[in-house]
């Protein structure tokens, strides 16, 4: 019988939540790496038992852990992330030049074809790749060096490369996003990059339509239609139908278009999910009501999904990497909160129930659909 494995990164360790295809009863394993910040963990689509985890701490720096048995056991692999050449400077919060300094890995994206190949998005923003199962890491420095890097600036959470989307139809095409620089695309497997931010408008930067400087929070795609992208920006929910060459706002009737997560239904490329957050000054849901919003029209028209979610006195946040969908039928949707809850819906968002309620603050949620 098919099942799911939900990989949860928190401020104090990793948790692995497993269930059969009904997604009603759950086994909880963890904390793995207790006391460490686990920004992200993700499994290989080629070998689901191959997992990678980003483990970090302000005291001891960055580690990468790898499991070859679906998260039962782990072993540290390479943790040496060194920028290619002279790192140079980017902008600091006050606009002054600031040296590029490695801080942590925000996101790990395993290859679609090779379990030993994995990408790492790091702070200060850069993209690294390993082709030996995480033992060694090399920067794809064409991104940082493409010309605008000196104008990138950190968002409130740091200058992080947090989103990596691999195009399943074109091995050379990768999309990435950086807070607060924007979205970028390569069509030659990472050698050269270009900003793809036309159509974004950000009032908090001197030129609201600048080529770079936009605080993109998350990008999502449906694997059957990789030229269509959905974006949750700092403010605004956006859509691109030309692989990021241009963007249109699709916030429509959302109660607020600020938020962090965005994801796409596994079987319906026009069905999109977001979790609206009140504002960039108040990182909690409007009215104390936790609601996922779903659009079945690729944006603009949104419906609130609240069945099973707290509808009073709820002041948690849902961080940018903390939503995922499984590929069962019906599609399962999962998200985690800074209050330590991981909610699951086994019916595409119509109803929700917590898998766990009292984890440390959830930073990331990924799900694997198991045979």
């Amino acid at each position: 019988m098919s099942g799911v494995r939900v990989l949860v990164g928190t401020r104090k360790g990793a948790f692995v939540l497993t269930s059969d295809g009904k997604r009603e009863r759950w086994d909880v394993s963890g904390p793995h790496f207790g006391g460490w910040e686990i920004y992200h963990l993700k499994g290989s689509p080629v070998d689901p038992n191959r997992l990678y985890a980003s483990q970090s701490s302000g005291w001891f720096g960055q580690l990468i852990q790898r499991s070859d048995d679906g998260g039962k056991t782990w072993a540290p692999v390479g943790n040496k992330f060194v920028y290619d050449g002279v790192p140079g400077t980017h902008q600091w919060y006050d606009g002054t030049p600031h040296p590029w300094e490695f801080k942590r890995v925000w996101h790990l994206e395993p290859s679609l074809t090779d379990p030993d190949a994995v990408y790492a998005g790091v702070e200060d923003a850069a993209l690294f790749r390993s082709t030996d199962g995480g033992q060694t890491w090399q920067e794809l420095s064409g991104l940082r060096g493409h010309g605008s890097g000196s104008r990138w600036a950190p968002g409130a959470g740091g200058m992080c490369l947090h989103t990596i989307l691999l195009d399943p139809s074109d091995p050379g095409r990768i999309f990435i996003a950086i807070s607060a620089a924007g979205a970028f695309r390569t069509d030659d497997a990472g050698k050269s990059w270009r900003p793809i931010n036309r159509g974004l408008k950000s009032q908090h930067i001197p030129d609201p339509y600048a080529e770079v400087g936009h605080c993109v929070h998350r990008i999502a795609m449906h694997r059957s239609r990789p030229g269509v992208l959905f974006m949750q920006k700092h403010w605004d929910v956006m859509r691109s139908d030309d692989a990021g060459d241009s963007w249109q706002e699709v916030s429509g009737n959302l109660p607020t278009d600020f938020g962090f997560v965005i994801d796409v239904h596994a079987h319906e490329p026009e069905t999109v999910y977001v979790v609206p957050i009140k504002s960039d000054s108040e990182h909690y849901p409007p009215e104390g009501k936790l609601r996922v919003y779903r659009s079945r029209t690729g944006g603009q028209e949104w419906e609130a999904l609240a069945n099973g979610l707290p509808q009073r006195d709820c002041y948690v946040n849902v961080l940018r990497d903390a939503m995922a969908v499984d590929s069962l039928d019906a599609c399962g949707v999962y998200f985690g909160t800074t209050g330590g809850q991981v909610y699951a819906s086994a019916d595409a968002g119509d109803s929700w129930a917590p898998i766990v309620r009292d984890l440390p603050a959830v930073v990331s949620v990924e799900v694997q659909t198991l045979p």
């Binding site: 001891f60 943790n79 040496k80 060194v82």
Partner: protein, 98 residues
């Protein structure tokens, strides 16, 4: 033998229970004992010293013989009591954070 006491998280990472005992060739300095530690426990590379600069990470300190040795040059001899194993060399994490 040199005795090294690691903070909890690094003991868990290296899978060692208590003190680490290391034989160090030549003079015992911060550099030689940390090099020996990382050679025996490669998973500790980068967690005490930066991979590139080899500088002590900012939120760690080195104590021994009731002294803070954090700002001693890495090639200075450690106290005789550390070199002889009478006293341990402590890697200590800052008491900070949540």
């Amino acid at each position: 033998m040199i005795r090294i006491v690691l903070p909890y998280h690094l003991r868990m990472l290296a899978d060692v229970g208590g003190e680490v005992m290391l034989a160090v060739e030549g003079r015992a300095t911060q550099r030689t004992i940390l090099d020996a530690l990382e050679a025996r426990y490669p998973m500790l590379r980068g967690t005490i010293r930066d991979h590139v600069t080899r500088q002590r990470r900012p939120m760690l300190r080195f104590f021994a013989c009731a002294e803070d040795l954090s700002y001693e040059p890495p090639d200075s001899p450690l106290p005789d009591a550390v070199a002889s194993g009478a006293e341990a060399f402590w890697v200590v994490g800052a008491i900070a954070g949540g």
